[in-house]
Structures are given as C-alpha cells and as structure tokens.
Symmetry: C2
Subunit: 252 residues, 2 copies
C-alpha cells in the first residue's frame, strides 16, 4: 500500500522545470510528446535505496528529478570507487550501455525521484527523432568529458586542490539548477567525497577544516557556505601556478 499513487501524478517533460537541462533539451513540442509517452515516473527512492546494482541487467536510463544519487564501480576485491554524483536534470545509467549489464551501482543519497526511460523505447524514438539521438550522443560525450576531468583532478592535484575543486564544481552545478552557488547542503558523506577524490576521509576532513580556518568556507555539518569564491577558485589549480609557474611538460 502506498499513500500516493505516483502513476496518477501528471507530470510531462514539457512542463518539467528541468526541461532545458535534461534529456529533452532541444526537442520540439511534438518530439517531446513522443518521449513523454514512454517515460515512467516511479515511486521516489529513499536514502540508501539502490536504483540498480552492478551486474544487473540494463533496461533503462534515468533522469534525476529531485534528490541526489551516487554511482560507484566495484573492483574485483569489492572496493568501491565512486564515479560521480547525480543532481536533478542529470542522466544516470549510461554505464549499462556497454554490454547490456550495469557495471556500476547507483544509490540514493537522499530521497530522490526519477524519470525512467526504458532503453528499447528510447532507441525506438531515437530512430524517428534525430535530435534526440544526437542529444544522447552529447550526454554520453559529456559523461566522458567529466570522467576525464575527474582523472585530471585526481592525478594532477593535491588533496586541498581536489577538495576545493569538488566544492566549486558542486557550487556551479547548483547554480545551474537555480539554487544558491554560495550555500548548499552536501548530500554525500565525507567518506563519499574522499572516495570520489581518491583521498581518505581524514584528509577530506582536515582539508575542509583548514579551509574554514582560512575563512574560505563555513561548515555546519552537511551545510557549506562559500565565503571566498575567488580564493577557492585560485586554490583549484594553484599548485603549479604558485610553485613552478610554468615548467613545460613534466611527466606528471
């Protein structure tokens, strides 16, 4: 028994506020309607709920409508590596497009609602709506670019720089969603942040404490207020800028 029958809630892509950030971006009203016909809006996930897990059959892509999810890969040894965090308007599930099985696990970090796009239906529409197909390509391309960005961050930056980069990146994403860019709630734990950035929880905690001491940010548990955006931004790539100015093509 459920108190709310979500199947009856009438939400269409067309009148969704995320419209221009999400999968339907750039589609005409007519094309949108086709997409709308296959979208499934399911019961919200509760914090900790899995959307899908590694190894499961891939059948849908999901657009986040509200909330936040983390996506992680699991190594042979059972270690987890968080690949990304997904905010409203972003698409989760691409990790299954390789071979028909999810290679990652997606977990809700807070109560989250999603739109499911069954893959077979989606590819069907793609055949008839080139704009959607290209949008799919773009979304996958963006995912790749983000992965590359993360790789750069992890291999080239030290702990503080990684943390600053992370905080700023979240800030920009919230801004894009119309929220405050200087004040937000971290829905992930310190441990998740560390895992994502290739650091331990202690290092993340120390880094954030240091930022607070330097009056770059204010921390209240999960709430972050950015006090000095400029300084934080400078920190993101400050290592080489400060120390070495410009040494050409150092191996790492």
């Amino acid at each position: 028994m459920q108190l709310i029958d979500f199947s009856k809630i009438k939400v269409s892509c067309e009148n969704c506020s995320l419209h221009e950030l999400c999968l339907p971006r750039g589609l005409t009203a007519e094309e949108l309607e086709k997409l709308d016909r296959v979208v499934k809006r399911t019961r919200p996930l509760q914090k900790g709920d899995m959307l899908f897990r590694s190894g499961e059959e891939f059948h849908s892509l999901y657009a986040v409508r509200s909330g936040c999810l983390k996506l992680y890969a699991t190594s042979d040894l059972g270690e987890e590596q968080i690949i990304g965090f997904y905010l409203p308007g972003e698409i989760v599930g691409l990790d299954g497009m390789d071979n028909g099985r999810h290679s990652c696990t997606a977990v809700a970090l807070e109560t989250s609602s999603l739109c499911a796009f069954p893959y077979t239906h989606l590819t069907d529409i793609c055949k008839r709506v080139p704009a959607l197909n290209e949008q799919m390509f773009r979304i996958m391309g963006r995912e790749l670019s983000q992965d590359n960005q993360l790789l750069l961050t992890i291999t080239k930056k030290n702990a503080d720089e990684r943390i600053a980069t992370f905080l700023l990146s979240l800030s920009m994403r919230f801004k894009r969603l119309g929220y405050s860019s200087s004040e937000y709630k971290l829905s992930m734990s310190r441990s998740d942040i560390g895992n994502y950035l290739g650091l331990t929880i202690e290092t993340v905690s120390r880094g954030m404490s240091r930022f607070q001491k330097q009056k770059l940010i204010a921390i209240e548990g999960k709430f972050i207020r950015i006090l000095d955006m400029g300084a934080l931004r400078e920190l993101c790539g400050a290592a080489a800028a400060g120390a070495k100015t410009e040494d050409n093509a150092a191996s790492r």
Copy 2:
C-alpha cells in the same frame, strides 16, 4: 607530392581484418556497404603527428587500422593527462561528441593508419541503420567503462599494482588482436605510462625493474616479455587480498 595515393587503395570494412572488433561489428553486408561509402582512409600518421588537438572542431571519429595513438586531456595549467592508448580496431575521437569540439589531443605513438568516419555522415547512416546506432552507443559505453576501470586502478592500487594492471591489460588487448599476449612492444614511453597511471617515470621504471628482478617479466627496452602471467595477475589486486583479506567497505 606523395609516393602512394592512399585514396586509390581499395580497402573496405567488409574485407578488413578488424571487421569484428571495430565499428562495423554486427552489421550486415548491406549495412556495411553504406558505412563503407563514407569512410575516408587517409595518409598514415607518422610518430608524433597529431590527429586532432584539444579545442579543434570535431568532425570525425577515427578507427585505428594499424599503429597506436595516445589521447590526452590538458588542464588549465597546461598539464597533460593521458586518457587512453588506442590500438587497431579501437575508436578515437569520442571526446568531441560532447559539444562539437575536441576536449582532448590525439597523437600517434608510431606510424599509424586510420579510417575516418565523418560525423554528419555517420549520424545520417545511424538514422537508417539502427544496428550501427546501437553499436555507437555500445562503443561510447565501453569507453565509459574503461575510464571507470582506470579510475579504480589509480585510486585503489599502489604503484606496482598499477603497472602490473597496465602490462596485463595491454597483453589482453594484443591477444584479442591475434598477437602474442606474452610478448609485445610498448609503443609508449615510460613517461607516457607514468602519466597514464598517475605515477612518475621513475616509479614506473623502478616497478618494471623490480618485476624483472622477480622474473615476472623480461625487459629489453620497449620490448616486454611476460614470464609469469599468473603472478602478475595476482599482483594486480594483491594489496587487499594479501594484507587485509576482506575489510568491508573501507572508505578508500
């Protein structure tokens, strides 16, 4: 003036030996023909030549026919991060699908020949050939999975494990191509390997020397012979397996 007019060389996807590893995988003869009509086979790249560079307009995907390329992203500070190495049958250029510009630079590590698939033509065909479209999705999905794998390797493994993982991964890829899996030539420098794995050149060199001392591999400059595949494989994930057996969900 060129000694060989490559435009006259008649090679089709259909009779290409990489057929089943490459873009055309799974297409019917008829579909292949459509694809074949848009493929451009260009003059081979020489070692050091750039196929495209970051910021350039994206217009084609490329299949490697022979040789090897490296793909790297560049940070704001000019640091390079190698994203991947591309062997015959693999597709380079997906980094441009995000926003119409390449976010990475591709450089030949040795003389390499390529097939170019102009993007607009490719998407044209995709509209009419669903199998190709899905193949495109799969290829992008695979690229994503590989990125995730690399991330796991870099954040969760120590230097020796990363190097062992790299050597084995190459071994498997060569095997898939029909070459020896126990003996091959590294077309990339130690510095490239280090960059790719998030290590310095010295650490790579030391690791490989150690492997040689332990009789896991034999090194002759760029030539690698794998002497103890089993031990090497064990090394790939040995850290946790040896030391901690199974500690559940350590943050990193």
